[in-house]
């Protein structure tokens, strides 16, 4: 089955095609332009390159976050549209899973290091995932100091820790600065949750039957909506009025 994968949860935007579960073709752009302006042309481009039409796509996967709220919604709304119009299942992949998978795929020898994917949630917060003791991972968010404490709680003393993702890069000082720690940062090219990883994780999810309907596809925001209304700027923001 051919899987279309979408990535818009962080500052890079990507589209990928996994053909029958193996070869992955992907296109990624990092740009200041809106995710919505970039995503659909990338989908068209990757389809053109692979000589596939959307009617040959059997599932649509998307990075549902955590990450940039607006970016996540662009990807999720597009995935919903594709899956609905093609009548195919959707697959939700988190940005943290995608970063972790990219690190594992690109690192020759992790040597037992604890891989910690970290996404920037802006406003001083990051989101991360850590092993929760039951063989799985739990998602959390908060300031970098909280992440430091969490890693210290989870990791064996002196264990190697590999931090990856835009959040890790942004707060590298706070995250790796502690004395006597063997905590490293993954290369910058692993900072973004690669769309190829989203595609490969989706292939695995499809094998497990881990699919959802377009309406069941929900963003992973972690943080509640900010409900403050800035009355001084409201006029501009609601230029489209309320009906």
């Amino acid at each position: 089955m051919n899987v279309l994968a979408l990535e818009t949860a962080t500052s890079s935007v990507g589209a990928a095609l996994a053909r029958d579960g193996d070869a992955v073709s992907s296109e990624t752009v990092t740009s200041r332009r809106e995710h919505a302006e970039l995503l659909h042309p990338l989908v068209a481009e990757v389809l053109r390159r692979e000589g596939l039409s959307l009617s040959e796509v059997g599932a649509v996967a998307v990075d549902v976050g955590p990450g940039l709220f607006t970016g996540i919604r662009v990807g999720v709304a597009a995935a919903k549209g594709f899956a609905l119009a093609l009548s195919v299942p959707a697959v939700a992949v988190t940005s943290l899973e995608a970063i972790e998978a990219a690190v594992r795929a690109k690192s020759k020898d992790l040597d037992g290091a604890l891989v910690v994917p970290v996404v920037d949630l802006r406003r001083g917060d990051v989101a991360w995932s850590l092993p929760n003791g039951s063989g799985r991972r739990s998602l959390s968010w908060g300031p970098p100091e909280t992440l430091v404490a969490e890693i210290a709680r989870v990791a064996r003393p002196g264990a190697a820790v590999l931090l990856a993702g835009e959040g890790a890069l942004r707060y590298s000082g706070a995250l790796t600065g502690g004395a006597g720690r063997s905590w490293r940062l993954a290369n910058e090219d692993m900072a973004a949750p690669s769309v190829a990883s989203v595609a490969m994780l989706a292939v695995a999810a499809l094998e497990r039957g881990d699919v959802v309907t377009p309406s069941e596809l929900v963003p992973c925001y972690l943080r509640e909506a900010d409900v403050r209304i800035n009355w001084s700027t409201r006029h501009d923001e609601t230029a489209g009025e309320g009906g």
């Binding site: 332009r33 809106e34 995710h35 919505a36 302006e37 970039l38 995503l39 659909h40 042309p41 989908v43 068209a44 039409s53 959307l54 009617s55 709220f69 607006t70 919604r73 662009v74 990807g75 999720v76 709304a77 597009a78 995935a79 919903k80 549209g81 594709f82 609905l84 119009a85 093609l86 009548s87 377009p214 309406s215 929900v218 963003p219 925001y221 909506a225 900010d226 409900v227 209304i229 009355w231 409201r234 006029h235 501009d236 923001e237 609601t238 230029a239 489209g240 009025e241 309320g242 009906g243």
Partner: protein, 358 residues
């Protein structure tokens, strides 16, 4: 027949609207016939905050987009499971003006649906959509007409000569009419949204109780409502015991006086056959009554869209999308949100995708 040119064949569009706090989808034939129209209002989600909270609106649109589109397709008898088929000839979505995060949900979903079905995507200006409300309900409407488009974000007077051919005659210089209603309602403690609240309370008040100022801006078809709002606030602060319903009714009367007088003077200048109201404030009962009475007294025909067609809906986006596709053509897959988009006729550099600075 599928795949035929829009010019020759009956053309069916799916339209999506998510510019503010209504998630809406519709199926429209030939820009004139509404096959289905579904609107899911988020009003209740925002009421407790006294205004539309952008992040909450965007989250709700994301949640509602699939159910609303599915319902619109189902009501139109179209199977959304159109694998290898084209249930519609094009997909239209509002790209602006509006809340950027909210717009992006509809645009992203609409472009994906169009791409999946292999049909064109059309970026639609929300304001242009409002202009078509009357035509959808009155396909034989005699043109030209002057449309008064009044909402929470906009107050515009537009002469419409034909579908796709119109000109902006006047616009507000400060607050939109609906914004003035919201602000005065909030000040008077009448709740949100302000328009219906003021309308309701005014029914029990004396519209002639206080002579609030009317800014007629002689020689111009522009509007200004910020002075009126300030006058109301100042008066109530100085006279705290006045009856709220009298203040509301007198304020509403002042707004309606200006709106009606300006619309009629535009209709005279434009030698229009009639006038139309559009936008959320067009649901105001006093405005509807006074516009009808005054216009008929001068021999103009009046068309008042139903309340459902005044407020935001996707049927009007489908109508505007049809004519834009016919006159300007499809939009690119790189279309994004244009939160500050203004109103300018198609084919004159005002196509969505470009910011109108006029």
């Amino acid at each position: 027949m599928r795949g035929a040119s829009l010019r020759d064949e009956a053309s069916r569009l799916l339209a999506i609207e998510t510019s503010c706090d209504e998630t809406a989808a519709a199926v429209v034939d030939e820009g004139r016939r509404v096959v289905s129209s579904v609107v899911s209002s988020q009003m209740d989600l925002h009421a407790r905050y006294g205004g539309v909270v952008p992040e909450i609106a965007s989250r709700a649109h994301t949640e509602l987009i699939v159910p609303v589109v599915t319902e619109a397709l189902a009501l139109a008898g179209l199977d959304s499971a159109g694998r290898g088929e084209r249930p519609v000839e094009a997909v239209a979505a509002t790209t602006g003006p509006g809340l950027v995060g909210a717009l992006l949900v509809g645009v992203s979903a609409a472009k994906a649906i169009a791409m999946a079905w292999g049909v064109p995507f059309v970026a639609v200006n929300h304001l242009e959509g409002h202009l078509y409300a009357s035509l959808l309900e009155e396909p034989d409407l005699e043109l030209p007409v002057v449309v008064l488009l009044v909402s929470g974000g906009h107050t515009l007077l537009v002469r419409m000569d034909a579908p796709g051919r119109y000109e902006v005659l006047g616009r507000t210089r400060d607050d939109a009419a609906g914004e003035a209603f919201d602000k005065v309602a909030r000040f008077l403690g009448l709740g949100y949204p302000g328009g219906p609240a003021v309308d309701r309370v005014s029914a029990h008040g004396d519209a002639g109780a206080f002579a609030f100022p009317r800014a007629f801006l002689e020689g111009s078809l522009d509007f200004s409502f910020s002075g009126l709002k300030t006058a109301v606030v100042r008066y109530v602060r100085a006279h705290p015991s006045v009856a709220t319903e009298d203040v509301a009714a007198s304020f509403q009367e002042a707004v309606v006086d200006v709106l009606v007088e300006k619309t009629l003077s535009a209709a005279r200048q434009a030698r229009a056959a009639g006038i139309c109201l559009a936008g959320g404030v067009a649901a105001n009962s006093s405005l509807r009554a006074r516009a009808t009475e005054s216009a008929e007294a001068e021999g103009f025909r009046v068309f008042l869209p139903s309340r459902a067609m005044c407020t935001d809906n996707a049927a009007m986006i489908g109508a505007a999308g049809y004519f834009r596709l016919r006159d300007v053509g499809a939009s690119g897959w790189d279309a994004g949100a244009e939160p500050g988009l203004g109103l300018s006729p198609p084919g004159r550099g005002g196509a969505p995708g470009r910011r109108d600075t006029s």
